[in-house]
Amino acid sequence: MKQSINNTVAIKMSNISKVFETQALETHALTNINLIINKGDYVSISGPSGCGKSTLLSLLGLLDMPTSGQYFIEGEDVSKLSLDEAAETRNSKIGFIFQSFNLIDELSVFDNVALPLRYHRDKPNAETIKNRVNECLAQVSMTHRISHKPNQLSGGQQQRIAIARALVTNPAILLVDEPTGNLDSKSGDQVMDVLAKLNDNGTTICMVTHDPRYADMAKIQLKLLDGAILTVPSLQIAN
C-alpha cells in the first residue's frame, strides 16, 4: 500500500505505541512515537536504561509489532504484516547490526555475509552472491578474512563483518543496536568510523546507543525518556 509521501522519506512512524502486558501489569514501553527518517540521515537514539530504546529499534526493525499506530518503510505500510511478510521486508529493506554481533559460529565469514541473500526473494545466483559479498566486505575492509570463522576474529573485526552482512541486500536503512557495547574503545572507534563513512556514501543509519560520545557522531540525535521522544534538536517531526 503506497502512500503519497515525499520519496526522500525512508521511514515514517505515526502515533506508534507499544504496551507489554503481563498478568500483573501493563507496561507502556512507547507512547505516541512520531518519527520521520529521511534517506541519507544518520540518526542516533539515546536515553537512560529502560527508556524504550531497544523496543523502538525492534519496532523499526519489524522484529516486533506495535500495539497501535502506523509505520511506513519507503512509503509502504508495514504496521500489520504477517510473520513471513515481515521477514521478507526485513530481508530486503532493513540491515541489522547487533551489540553482540550475532554471527553464526559454524559459518565462514563469506557465508555469514551471504546469509541474507540466501533468504532473498530474488534467489540470486552464486556469481551475484560472490560479487556482492566481496563488495560489502571491501566496504568494511575485511576481504582478507573471507574464509575465516567468526571465532577466529577479534570483536571489532566481527562487528565489521556484521556490518557487511547488514549491507549485503542494499537495505533502505541500517538499524544499529549499541554497536560498540561489546568492544574496547579502539575497536569501537574503528566501527564508528566505518558507519560514518557509509553514511557519507549515502547509507541511511539509525543507531541506538547510551554512549553520548557516539550519539553525538550522528547528524540527528533523538533522546528518549519513559517511552517518549524528549528533545528533537534540528529534526523533523511527522504530523
Binding site: 525492534s58 521477514a87 530481508n91 550475532n102 546469509l115 533468504y119
Partner: protein
C-alpha cells in the same frame, strides 16, 4: 563421620530443593525410569527363576526325569513316553536311584460333587510327597505301604481345591470323594505355598497344568489293556528318580537301558512290527525337563526389555544434558563462591540418586503388578512362573541397577559441565556465552536413538505381524457355531447297559432333539486334537506315524472339509463294537489327508491313485483308503502333518454339536438331555470350538500382545527421546534462529534448516539399524529363516517411515515456539 553425614544430608536437601523447581524434568525422568526399571525387574526376576534359581525341592540337582525312547535301527522316534509295563518294571527293579516316583497325569469328573466338575487328577506313588517336599495345611500324605499294588484309595487335595470345591471345610479329613465309581478318602490338604513341578511333557494346551487332587497310584486312568501293552506309550506317565550320589547320569542311563530294553523286547517278541526295535533310557535333569524349550521365550523377552532400557537411558541422558544447561548459572555461582569439582559432582549425584530412588520405589510396584500379570496370563508360556515374586534377588538387582543409573547420569552430567565455560559465564556476565553441548554429542545421541528405536520397533513389529498372520490364518474348515462335548463314564456299566440299546446313538438323538441344535456328529471337533498311530504301507512295508481321529459319516460335510478324491464315510462304515477297531475287523476303511496321500503314491500321480491302497495297523488290522481330504492346519501350527480318519463307533461318546445361528447351549441343558437317556455318563467337557481355537492360539496371542506392547512402548520412548534431544538442540540454537529471522529468514526457511541439519543424523541412525539387522540376519540365519524374509521389507520401510515422521515432528514441534512469534522473542535473552 558426623560432618560426612551432615554434608550428605546437605547435598540431598539441596538436590531436593533444586528438583522441586523443575517438576516436568522430574516427572519425565521418573515416569520413564520407573516403567523401564519395572519391566526390567519383572523380566530379570522371571529369567532368574527360570534359568538359575535352585528348584524348591531337596537335592534337586540329583533329580532326573527318565525318558523311554523307542527306536528302530537308525530311525529315532521323537516320542520319549513310557509304556505302562516298562514304567512298572523300571520302578520295581531299578538300582540307580535312592528314591523314585511314578506319576500319572489324568482328568476325571468329581462325581460325588453336585456339579460334577472336571478335575486334574494326579496319581502318584508315596515318595512323591517327600521328593517334592510338599508342605501340608491339613492331615498327612501317603505312606510307604500305600504305594504300588496296595489298592488303598486315598486323596490329598490341593489348597485351591480345598478352598474352592470344598469351601475350606476344616473337617474334610476322613471324608469320601468319588471319581468315576471309586471313592477316595481325603487324608490331607497341601499348603497354599506349595509349588508343583511341571513335569508333564507339555503341548500348548496342557502347559501350566496344576494338579487339583493327588490320588494313590493304583487308581490311575490306564485301562486293563494298556497296563500290559508294551507297545502302547502314553505321555501322561512320568518317572522321576533321585540319582545315588556316586552314580552319574551317563552311568545311570547305561545301567537302566538294558534293564528296561530286555524286558521290553521280550514283551514284544511275538509282534513282527517291533522286530529290530529297542528302548533306550535317557535322563534329563529335572530343571531341563521343566524348562523344556521355553528358554528362548524368556531370552527373547529379555532382549526386548534390554532394548527398552537402552532407549530409556538415552532419553534420560538427553534430559540430564538439557538439565545441565539449565543448571549452568547456579553451578557457576557455586563455583564462584568456592565449590570444588568434587562438591558439584556430589550435588549431581544426590540429584540423580533421589530421582532413581523414587523411580525404584514405583518400579517395584510396577514389577509386582507385572508378576501377577505374568502368573495369571503367561503360565502357559513360562514354567515356574508361580515362583516369581519380589525377592532378595529382585531387590538386589533393583538397587544395583538404580545405583548404576544414578552414578551413570551423575557422571554424564559432570562430563557435560564445562568448567572453563563456568568461569567464562561469570566473566561474560552471561551475554552470548551460554553453555552448549557439543554438536558431536547431540548428533551421536540422535544417531543412537534412531538406530536403537528402528531395530527394536522393526524387531517387535515383525514378531507382531508374524503372530497376527498365524492368528488370522484360516483353518481350512468351518468351525463357527460348533460345540465340542465329551462324556465320560460315571461308573462301570451294568450288564444290562452293555447288552442294551446303543447309548452313544441315544445321546446323539437326545441332543439333536434340543431346539437350538442343528446337527450332531459322533466325532471330536476338528480342533480337539488327534491320536498317534503307527501304520504300515502294505505295498512298501514303510512305517508312517499319522495323527488319527475317529469320525462319523457326517463329520467332513458338517465342517466342510473338501474331498479331493474318492468318497466320504457312509453310515455302513461306522463300527458297532465298543472300543478300538476290534468292533469291526473286516472291510475297514480309512480316509487320509493329501499330505499322507503323497506318501502313498509316486510323485506327480493323481490322488485317485492313492484310493484302494492298504495300510496296516499293528499286525492284523487292515485298512483300505477310500477318500482323500484336503489337509487342515491346526491354529498356531506351522505345517499340516500326515493325518488319517477312521470311522467312529456307534458307542462313541465324543460329540461335535453344530448350533443354529445365534443360539447357545448351556451345560445344564446338555446334562438334562443326557440324564433323560442314561445315568451312566457324566458330562466330561464342553467347549465352544471357537474357544478351543483361541486356546490353541494362546502363545501367538501372548506374543502379539507382548511384542505389540513393546513396540508401542519403544515408539513412545523413542518419540519422547527424539523430541527431548531435538527440542534441547533447538533451544540451544535460539539466538541463531533469532538472528536468521532478523536477517529475513521465513518460517519455512527455518524449518528446512533444522530438518536438513538433523536429517543426516537420522539417516545415519537408520543406516546403522539396517546394518545391525543385516548382521543379526547373517549370524542367526538358521533360527530366523522362518521369520525373516522378503515380505518384511515393506514392514521395514514402514518402520523407517514411522521413525522419520517422529523425527520430523520432533524437529518441527519445538520450533513452533520461535517461528510463530515475532523474531524479537528468539533474540531476547532468557527472559
Amino acid at each position: 563421620m558426623n560432618s560426612f553425614f551432615y554434608s550428605l544430608l546437605y547435598s540431598i536437601k539441596q538436590a531436593y530443593k533444586s528438583l522441586q523447581q523443575t517438576p516436568s524434568f522430574v516427572f519425565s525422568v521418573i515416569t520413564t525410569m520407573s516403567i523401564t526399571l519395572g519391566a526390567l525387574l519383572c523380566v530379570l526376576t522371571l529369567a532368574y527363576v527360570m534359568l538359575f534359581k535352585q528348584l524348591p525341592y531337596p537335592d534337586s540337582e540329583y533329580l532326573v526325569k527318565v525318558e523311554h525312547v523307542m527306536s528302530k535301527e537308525n530311525e529315532d522316534w521323537s516320542d520319549s513316553s513310557f509304556s505302562y509295563p516298562s514304567l512298572i518294571h523300571l520302578y520295581k527293579n531299578q538300582e540307580v536311584f535312592t528314591d523314585s516316583v511314578m506319576i500319572f497325569y489324568g482328568e476325571r469328573n468329581l462325581t460325588s460333587h453336585q456339579e460334577q466338575p472336571r478335575m486334574n487328577t494326579t496319581y502318584v506313588t508315596p515318595q512323591w510327597f517327600e521328593m517334592f517336599n510338599m508342605p501340608l495345611a491339613l492331615g498327612r500324605v501317603f505312606t510307604e505301604d500305600e504305594g504300588l499294588d496296595s489298592n488303598i484309595p486315598l486323596a490329598v487335595l490341593s489348597y485351591v481345591t480345598w478352598q474352592e470345591i470344598f469351601d475350606g471345610d476344616t473337617s474334610i479329613l476322613g471324608k469320601k470323594i468319588r471319581f468315576r465309581d471309586v471313592s477316595f478318602t481325603v487324608i490331607g490338604v497341601a499348603a497354599h505355598h506349595f509349588i508343583e513341578p511341571e513335569l508333564l511333557d507339555i503341548n500348548a494346551r496342557d502347559s501350566g497344568r496344576k494338579s487339583q487332587v493327588w490320588l494313590t497310584w493304583d487308581f490311575n486312568n490306564m485301562n486293563e489293556r494298556g497296563r500290559t501293552a508294551w507297545a502302547g506309550v502314553d505321555a501322561s506317565m512320568v518317572f522321576v528318580g533321585k540319582l545315588k550320589t556316586d552314580i552319574t547320569k551317563n552311568n545311570a542311563e547305561q545301567l537302566t537301558t538294558p534293564l528296561v530294553n530286555e524286558k521290553w523286547q521280550a514283551g514284544l517278541a511275538d509282534q513282527v512290527f517291533f522286530k529290530n526295535w529297542q528302548v533306550t533310557i535317557r535322563l534329563k535333569t529335572i530343571k531341563d525337563a521343566i524348562l523344556s524349550g521355553k528358554k528362548n521365550s524368556v531370552l527373547l523377552l529379555l532382549a526386548g526389555v534390554l532394548g527398552l532400557v537402552l532407549i530409556a537411558c538415552s532419553n534420560i541422558a538427553n534430559l540430564f544434558i538439557a538439565r545441565m544447561a539449565q543448571l549452568q548459572k547456579s553451578l557457576a555461582i557455586s563455583a564462584a563462591v568456592g565449590a570444588k569439582k568434587a562438591q558439584l559432582f556430589k550435588l549431581l549425584l544426590a540429584e540423580s540418586s533421589l530421582l532413581m530412588f523414587a523411580s525404584l520405589m514405583i518400579a517395584l510396584v510396577f514389577a509386582s503388578v507385572g508378576f501377577s500379570v505374568l502368573q495369571q496370563n503367561l503360565a502357559q508360556v513360562f514354567p515356574r512362573v508361580d515362583e516369581v515374586a519380589l525377592s532378595t534377588f529382585t531387590l538386589s538387582i533393583a538397587i544395583f541397577f538404580a545405583s548404576m543409573f544414578a552414578l551413570f547420569f551423575a557422571l554424564l552430567g559432570n562430563k557435560m559441565i564445562n568448567y572453563r565455560a563456568i568461569s567464562q559465564h561469570l566473566h561474560g556476565s552471561g551475554k552470548g556465552v551460554d553453555m552448549q553441548i557439543s554438536k558431536k554429542v547431540r548428533y551421536s545421541l540422535i544417531v543412537s536413538q534412531v538406530a536403537i528405536a528402528s531395530v527394536l520397533v522393526f524387531g517387535n513389529l515383525s514378531l507382531f505381524s508374524e503372530a497376527l498372520k498365524v492368528i488370522n490364518e484360516p483353518v481350512g474348515v468351518n468351525t463357527a457355531n460348533f460345540v465340542d462335548i465329551d462324556f465320560s463314564t460315571a461308573r462301570r456299566p451294568t450288564q444290562e447297559e452293555i447288552d442294551g440299546p446303543v447309548l452313544g446313538t441315544a445321546i446323539k438323538n437326545s441332543l439333536l432333539a434340543l431346539p437350538q441344535v442343528e446337527a450332531v456328529s459322533n466325532s471330536q471337533s476338528p480342533l480337539s486334537g488327534f491320536n498317534e498311530w503307527t501304520l504300515t504301507n502294505v505295498a512298501t512295508n514303510e512305517h508312517i506315524i499319522p495323527e488319527v481321529k475317529y469320525v462319523d459319516e457326517q463329520y467332513f460335510q458338517l465342517i466342510a472339509q473338501p474331498l479331493l478324491a474318492g468318497d466320504y464315510f457312509t453310515i455302513h462304515d461306522i463300527r458297532e463294537g465298543f472300543t478300538g477297531p476290534e468292533g469291526k475287523v473286516d472291510n475297514m476303511v480309512i480316509i487320509i489327508n493329501d499330505v499322507l496321500a503323497k506318501y502313498l503314491i509316486p510323485e506327480g500321480h493323481s490322488f485317485d491313485d492313492a484310493l484302494g491302497k492298504k495300510v496296516l495297523m499293528g499286525d492284523d488290522e487292515l485298512f483300505t483308503v477310500i477318500g482323500i481330504v484336503k489337509g487342515m492346519k491346526m491354529p498356531g501350527a506351522s505345517t499340516i502333518p500326515v493325518r488319517a480318519y477312521v470311522p467312529s463307533s456307534v458307542h462313541s461318546i465324543n460329540m461335535t454339536v453344530k448350533l443354529k445361528p445365534n443360539q447357545t447351549l448351556s451345560r445344564e441343558q446338555v446334562i438334562t438331555a443326557v440324564n433323560e437317556v442314561t445315568s451312566l455318563f457324566a458330562l466330561f467337557s464342553m467347549k465352544d470350538v471357537a474357544e478351543i481355537h483361541q486356546q490353541l492360539l494362546f502363545s501367538e496371542r501372548a506374543t502379539a500382545i507382548t511384542t505389540g506392547t513393546l513396540a508401542l512402548l519403544t515408539i513412545l520412548l523413542a518419540a519422547l527421546g527424539l523430541y527431548g534431544i531435538l527440542s534441547y538442540s533447538t533451544q540451544m540454537r535460539r539466538f541463531e534462529i533469532g538472528t536468521r529471522l532478523a536477517l529475513g529468514a521465513k518460517r519455512g526457511d527455518i524449518i528446512k534448516l533444522i530438518v536438513y541439519d538433523n536429517a543426516l543424523a537420522v539417516t545415519l541412525g537408520m543406516v546403522i539399524s539396517s546394518l545391525v539387522l543385516l548382521g543379526i540376519m547373517v549370524v542367526f540365519n538358521e533360527q530366523l529363516q522362518n521369520i525373516i524374509n522378503v515380505s518384511l521389507l515393506p514392514l521395514f520401510l514402514l518402520t523407517l517411515l514411522l521413525i522419520s515422521v517422529i523425527a520430523f515432528n520432533a524437529c518441527y514441534l519445538p520450533l513452533r515456539t520461535y517461528i510463530n512469534k515475532p523474531a524479537l522473542y528468539s533474540l531476547r535473552g532468557s527472559e
